[in-house]
């Protein structure tokens, strides 16, 4: 009994440590003070000014850039990665292993190395940095994850199904759409979600490939903000909203999984 109380309180303490900073943000999103940690009475002003834009227009546009870059990179990565996975699956063993090895480089590389290497690529080719370079960079570190999540589906698939469809007169395209795609879809979806999450969370690679034309994503915005010595107060309600959304989504997914399991 004693042991149980001890171990439960240990877990509780660790969770408290992990959540204390987040709680501070959530609590202080309901007050107006510019400086985090000053309580000047309950207020929803930060929430309204976050949505009204106005002075903090740059924050809203950074948020939009983040989402757009995330969506485009994730979509292209999903497409490129799925086609690649099908191709790699059909390669001869030796070539396949080589491609898979190269595919794992962006996953294993620390992001600062990826960032510097892509930076050197763009500057030495004289490509001006902006939206396109950020998206290309994101695709390059997201696609490997898509390949990894689609590939197992291919291995598990019954190849005869596809052949059977062809024998029964389906065109290759029709068989692809009706047989292959439904089999791969779960892998593609989880690859897309992973790519999207990686993209919106990325900071280092974005910072090195974004150029200096004034383009900002949420991460670079926060970084610039922090270097100036303080957080834009509206980031508090924004983080709170992101956190609550993720929490609710995960709880729903977990509930549904639990139901399915029982």
């Amino acid at each position: 009994m004693m042991k149980r109380i001890l171990s439960n309180s240990y877990i509780g303490l660790l969770l408290l440590m992990l959540y204390a900073p987040i709680l501070i943000i959530v609590i202080f999103s309901f007050t107006e003070a510019k400086v985090l940690g000053n309580w000047t009475g309950f207020s929803l002003k930060l929430y309204t000014s976050l949505f009204n834009g106005g002075i903090h227009h740059s924050l809203t546009s950074a948020l939009w850039n983040t989402l757009i870059i995330g969506a485009i990179s994730a979509f292209i990565s999903m497409f490129l990665g799925t086609v690649a996975a099908i191709g790699i699956y059909n390669l001869k063993s030796r070539t396949r292993k080589a491609v898979q090895l190269i595919n794992s480089i962006p996953i294993l590389n620390p992001d600062i190395i990826t960032a510097i290497s892509l930076f050197l690529l763009f500057v030495s080719l004289g490509i001006s940095q902006g939206y396109t370079t950020v998206i290309l960079a994101h695709i390059s570190f997201c696609t490997p994850y898509v390949v990894l999540s689609v590939y197992p589906r291919l291995r598990r698939m019954n190849e005869n199904l596809y052949e059977a469809a062809l024998d029964l007169g389906a065109t290759p395209f029709y068989a692809l759409r009706k047989i292959l795609l439904p089999e791969l879809r779960p892998g593609m979806i989880s690859g897309f979600i992973l790519a999207f999450t990686l993209s919106i969370d990325d900071f280092v690679v974005t910072l090195f490939t974004i150029g200096n034309e004034g383009l900002e994503t949420l991460s670079t915005y926060i970084y610039a903000d922090a270097r100036k010595g303080g957080l834009t107060p509206e980031l508090r309600p924004l983080s709170t909203i992101i956190f609550v959304t993720v929490l609710v989504l995960l709880l729903i997914i977990n509930q549904r999984a639990a139901k399915k399991g029982s």
Binding site: I25, L36, G87, N90, P110, L118, V147, V204, I222, F243
Partner: protein, 258 residues
């Protein structure tokens, strides 16, 4: 399906251009000077510069200490979680991973706010707290995964044969969890050694880590020197992963990696 082999061609070209070529450029820049002639000057410069050298060694130290703290805190947590009822454990693991969905810069700044709030001065203490805070879930998750896969019959067999709880833990549980520990160590050590920006925010620019040295050089247009430093970091990371996988090759095969 055989003809689909060609479908890999676009991606192979993509990898060649956006993965291999950039890495090659790091090597190229590291060994050339401004006019493109071969030189070893940048590495000599690094060796001669006490400040860069000091940052490098200090960063390795920070990464080692952070990894050790994460292991000390994370192993018991993973062990406790693995002994919980499955449903509760799943929920708890989720709670540990959840904070990762908030942008790490915001989380780091929140840690700074927490220290301000508690009137604790920023310095080495806040640096380690912030690092552990950011990377602890990466340690808990793989260890939990490995422990959870442990065959319970082995533990019972040991108990039946008269092993004390202590013996069971050190001779059965711990050895079986090494794949998880190995990938946990990698997942903490690697990002910490290359981290950039976290240390500066946590110590109001008092402590600089190697990642920042890299960034500053690239930003100040010292591409060649920056590339040489990147290559040094790349070698360090290659060496660590080699050591890690060498010691745990069999363990990794058994699937400690998530």
């Amino acid at each position: 399906m055989g003809k689909r082999r060609n479908w890999s061609i676009p991606y192979i070209l993509f990898l060649a251009f956006f993965v291999l070529m950039p890495l090659f450029l790091i090597v190229y820049y590291a060994f050339t000077d401004n006019s493109g002639d071969f030189t070893l000057e940048h590495f000599r410069h690094f060796g001669m510069q006490p400040e860069a050298m000091h940052t490098f060694v200090f960063s390795i130290g920070v990464a080692l200490i952070t990894t050790a703290i994460c292991l000390l805190l994370g192993y018991p947590a993973a062990y406790i979680l693995s002994r919980m009822e499955k449903k509760t454990a799943k929920m708890m693991v989720l709670l540990f991973i959840l904070p990762m969905w908030i942008n790490f810069l915001i989380r780091t700044l929140a840690t700074v706010a927490l220290f301000d709030f508690l009137k604790i001065p920023l310095g080495q203490g806040s640096l380690y707290f912030g690092m552990v805070y950011n990377f602890l879930p990466f340690m808990i998750y793989p260890i939990y995964n490995a422990l959870q896969k442990t065959d319970h019959n082995l533990i019972e067999a040991a108990q039946d044969l008269g092993a004390t709880p202590r013996q069971v833990f050190f001779r059965i549980t711990v050895p079986l969890s090494t794949p998880g520990v190995a990938s946990g160590i990698m997942m903490v050590f690697m990002p910490v050694i290359s981290t950039f920006a976290i240390a500066e925010l946590l110590t109001i620019n008092n402590i600089k880590l190697f990642g920042t040295t890299l960034q500053e050089n690239i930003y100040n247009g010292m591409w060649n020197y920056g590339a040489a430093l990147s290559l040094i970091m790349l070698l360090l990371i290659g060496l660590t992963s080699l050591l890690n996988s060498g010691g745990n090759a069999r363990a990794a095969e058994e699937g400690g990696l998530i």
